[in-house]
Symmetry: C2
Subunit: 328 residues, 2 copies
């Protein structure tokens, strides 16, 4: 089986690549080859399974056609301009997040016009397709009311994925990821960055800023859970999805207070003392517009699994990023 | 005020043109000029207000730029490939219904980059953005689950309209029209054609085929109500819409039995005897997937008005199309 990962250089893409290489198979099918595409060609991992890095900008017409020319059996489409950048650069956001995805779907469709070809396409969407006013637990049949261009682009891609799947051009499944914590690596400037920072930095003996109240509630899953969602989506029977091809993934609805309590259980007061409370009205206002909880019974019934406590999320971080050591 | 109508040659476009010319004003603003665009240039009506017919295919890049170059103050975008054709011709449907609308939005945005320009844009969407399984009365915050490429394209345009409006590039409002009855003119091959035919033909002394059961329920408004929706959308304060820029228009949820009873009140048994019941399983199956009723309280609160009985719909047809005569 030949797998194509688009957006392979990002955090999720790299973890997915590692998981696929370690498993060596998807379901019962051996993996023969991985094509790793991103705007800059990803670093190819050393492994007995051949990996082919490719520099590919999906927004450029013709690039998607090249990517699917060898008819990969399974495609993960993770590539996107993130929310803040899509808002700051209107043209770039639409070019990558909308046109890029449409080029990919069209390239797959045109491959299928010449020879039988209908690959599984796993697409990462976002809870940014939803915007307030929202019910306390957002169901899958809630209207898409994005409050950003990024959310708009993701919502449009969900519609395209469903239509191309209904027409038999692709076997698509979209998954809306929760906010991923604890993101490994250095702090970034995303408005949501502090959710990871207040675990990651203190466990490394470093200070982290908390810009919102302890009562703030949000929707979380670990990077490990995210990889689990992608792998499950790759093999799942898509027939029960009907025409509703995108699902909100399960996650943990938790408050900052619960997050800090979990940190304390793993890192003690030495860790929690490193959280510096520095209220930031701008960030507080942005976060206040984000969804806090979802009704994900469809995804749970289909076998998607997420953490059910913040302890599980912190434990996954310590095991996967800190070699099991609580303090670096 | 300069008004641009795109899709001016269709049934709704022609009636809208006539209504605008007759009123001579929109709200308190005099109409100075009408630009009437369609794939084939519409026949210009004779009237003291100058009308400029234009042949324009929105799917061709650059055409939208020409249409908005003179910065019309108000734009009605009614142009679309209908459902059956968009399903039969995948590329054409996306080219006109999606790319055409996007070209228009982009052309407006780029006009606004040079000079202050943010016109009101009234866009006709469709209840085809919804597909089963559906609740008994579909609210505006129901997820878009189109079961056709046409419905997908309309749902995508609703998302684009909201994002371009949020960004301040256009002052957009989308209205989802009910099935329009009684459509004037000759019978057409649309699956929904019989809803009009069983009123129109018998009132003309001609036979009409009814392919579904009398118990079938559907969602209706007259052409007169549709023009009322468009004119109201053109002047409405859009601030209360927030980010939710498209509304399902009010309509009448009624059964075929109620429709036939209304026909009998106006045309007697001489008219109802001309309905020939000829069940068609294909049409019955298509119609069974269509929405039957909507919760349109948002639109009603904003002052949109529709008929509340089938008698009103038949009366509008007799007054507007038959010069008030019940039998032709």
């Amino acid at each position: 089986m030949h797998i194509l990962i688009i957006g392979a250089a990002g955090m999720v893409g790299r973890k997915l690549t590692a998981a696929l290489l370690e498993a060596g198979a998807i379901g019962e099918e051996q993996i023969d080859r991985l094509t790793l595409a991103d705007v800059m060609a990803p670093e190819p991992p050393l492994h007995r399974i051949p990996t082919v890095p490719v520099a590919a900008d999906l927004s450029i017409p013709g690039i998607a056609t090249q990517l699917v020319a060898e008819q990969p059996d399974l495609i993960f489409h993770l590539a996107a301009i993130v929310s803040g950048e899509a808002e700051a650069n209107f043209d770039k956001g639409y070019a990558i997040n909308l046109d890029g995805t449409r080029h990919l779907l069209e390239a797959i469709r045109r491959q299928g016009a010449n020879a039988p070809y209908c690959p599984r396409l796993v697409f990462t969407s976002s809870i940014a397709v939803f915007g307030e006013p929202l019910p306390p637990a957002i169901p899958d049949d809630m209207a898409h009311t994005p409050l950003t261009s990024y959310g708009t682009q993701k919502a449009i891609c969900e519609l395209l994925l469903a239509d191309y799947s209904r027409r038999g051009f692709v076997d698509g499944i979209g998954i809306r990821l929760p906010t991923i914590v604890v993101r490994p690596g250095k702090p970034n400037k995303a408005a949501s960055g502090f959710f990871s920072g207040i675990i990651r930095e203190p466990l490394n003996g470093m200070e982290a800023v908390l810009p919102v109240e302890d009562s703030v509630r949000h929707w979380f899953a670990s990077p490990r859970a995210a990889i689990g969602f992608l792998l499950h989506a790759a093999t799942l029977d898509t027939a029960p999805l009907g025409q509703r091809r995108t699902l909100t993934m399960p996650g943990l609805s938790a408050t900052i207070a619960e997050e800090v309590a979990a940190l304390e259980r793993f890192g003690g007061s030495a860790a929690t003392r490193l959280i510096r409370r520095e209220p930031d009205e701008t960030i507080a206002r942005i976060v206040a517009g984000w969804p806090q909880n979802f009704d994900t019974r469809r995804a749970l019934e289909l076998g998607f699994l997420a953490e059910t406590s913040f302890d599980d999320i912190v434990r996954a971080h310590i095991e996967d990023e800190l070699d099991g050591n609580r303090l670096g």
